[in-house]
């Protein structure tokens, strides 16, 4: 049988198995992303347009980080403890296909949140969106990096460890990462750390495609994402195929 039909059946199986959860998660994503745009304007008393643009172009990145590095590891942890991971390993399909089908599902649930929050931000604040064609590849690349890294560490670590790890990530991404504010506000050591970690590059690439006339991303950002993406998926496939 060809890989495409395998992919189709694995996708259907995984999607239907999680259907109720996915609908719920999509709704939560929409709420969170709107919340980031509106909520931060309460935190900052009289934000200027530049600040709001930062928040509005940061929200989609937060959604992708939240999905790939928080919700996904929790799901993988549950699948591991329930024995579902072992069961998946007995399927007569290439394991990379399972990863591919799951990635598609995670991608799908992030899109409504990103679209809705951008619309809401535009209607409320008109912060100066200038969407470039690069938004599609950028979104894909950021999502794949986030999902890939999420898979990598949640397959590698025990369910409890990866759960704790994902809690740290969600807090760190929201408060200590240059996603919703410029990098130069952070202390120097954190700046250096963010040059290596993928979160800053995700935010830069996202901003550059949502507000192309205000921001631009460097080649370094793209290379950084590419490396993390390969590391994440490579690690996940390695663990899935490990005997």
């Amino acid at each position: 049988m060809n890989p495409l039909s395998h992919y189709k059946y694995v996708f259907q199986l995984q999607f239907l198995r999680n259907a109720g959860f996915l609908v719920f998660m999509t709704l939560i994503q929409i709420l969170i992303s709107i919340g980031i745009v509106i909520g931060f304007t309460y935190l900052i008393p009289s934000p200027d347009t530049a600040t709001i643009l930062f928040l509005a172009t940061g929200a989609p990145t937060i959604i992708l980080i939240f999905t790939g590095l928080v919700i996904l590891p929790q799901q993988v942890g549950t699948a591991k403890t329930e024995g579902y991971m072992e069961f998946m390993r007995t399927w007569p399909v290439n394991r990379a296909l399972i990863l591919g089908a799951d990635t598609t599902i995670w991608l799908i649930i992030t899109i409504p949140g990103i679209v809705v929050s951008s619309f809401v931000a535009h209607l409320m604040f008109s912060p100066g969106y200038d969407i470039s064609w690069t938004v599609i590849p950028a979104l894909l690349m950021i999502a794949l990096t986030s999902i890939g890294v999420g898979y990598g560490f949640s397959y590698l670590l025990s369910p409890t460890t990866s759960l704790a790890f994902s809690q740290v990530i969600v807090f760190g991404a929201l408060m200590f990462s240059p996603v919703n504010f410029p990098m130069d506000r952070l202390p120097e050591w954190l700046q250096t750390l963010h040059e290596i970690l993928p979160i800053y590059s995700m935010a830069e690439v996202m901003r550059a495609s949502l507000a192309a006339s205000t921001f631009e991303a460097t080649a370094g950002n793209y290379i950084n994402l590419f490396i993390w993406c390969i590391l994440g998926y490579g690690g996940a496939i390695f663990i899935l195929n490990k005997k």
Partner: protein, 310 residues
Amino acid sequence: MILEVNGVTKVFTGKGKNKMIANDHLSLRINEGEIFGLLGQNGAGKTTLVNQILGLITPDQGDIHLLGESVCRSPARARSLCSVQPQSQVPLGFLTPKQAVSLIGKMRAGKKFDPKRMEMLFEALDMGEWVNKEGEKLSGGARRLAAFCMAVIAPGKLVILDEPTNDVDPVRRRYLWQVIRSLTKDGTSVILVTHNVLEAEKAVDRLAIIHKGKILTQGTPSEVKSSVSNQMRMELSLASESNMEIPNWALSSHKNGSRCIFAMDPQEVSAAIDWAKRQVNNGLIMDYALSPATIEDAYIEITSRKVGQE
């Protein structure tokens, strides 16, 4: 020959260099259309062997051949030739049994997937009331049967069933055994992993008893029984779970809650019956039954003999 396991050894290294020999030079062969029972206590190494047959883990020594080709060399091929019902429950989530079974069927058979076979399975196992219910809401037994159907919907060459009757009610257990037997008519072989010896005796063509990673004996049920076949067994229902004195004619005894089994020489039968009657009159036992030795007796005899030697 469907499956040939040759001298397979698997050692797991735990924390602090603790070595656990899960499989110790296991060898066995399974023929086409045969139901082969793997019997053994918890932790005997049955599931480890199954995982190696599926290519999920690699043996440290020895080799496994599936239809003449090494599993270690082509594990993906092993996964498409074998389907498995795992020992743990398959968490179906929001999937209904119908969705789960048809998708696994399509994944295994592609366009050759036959929806009629699925209907036939559901009917044979009397699952009608559950097939369109979300897995989360099903009882343990219903989920177990759904997992069974997932394993046998497109059976391939070898079906491995790890404790398939756990959680299943006695009526549907019978249906389940019929479905398993009908699989073999199409040339599919079945490995039945279980510690439920009484059920296995009726179902399997051949069996192996695994104990602490080693195969103690293998053959047809009557061959395995022959080691204790001259014996009779007396099964007692005790009035209480307290210990009772073991009579001197008992060659071996085994107690499980209020159930107690003695093995004995045939010539001791009348003495045993007299003894049992007295115990009934004294109110110590509720009930007794006398029968020829079963696989369970052989199993207990063989595994305890082994323990005794160590």
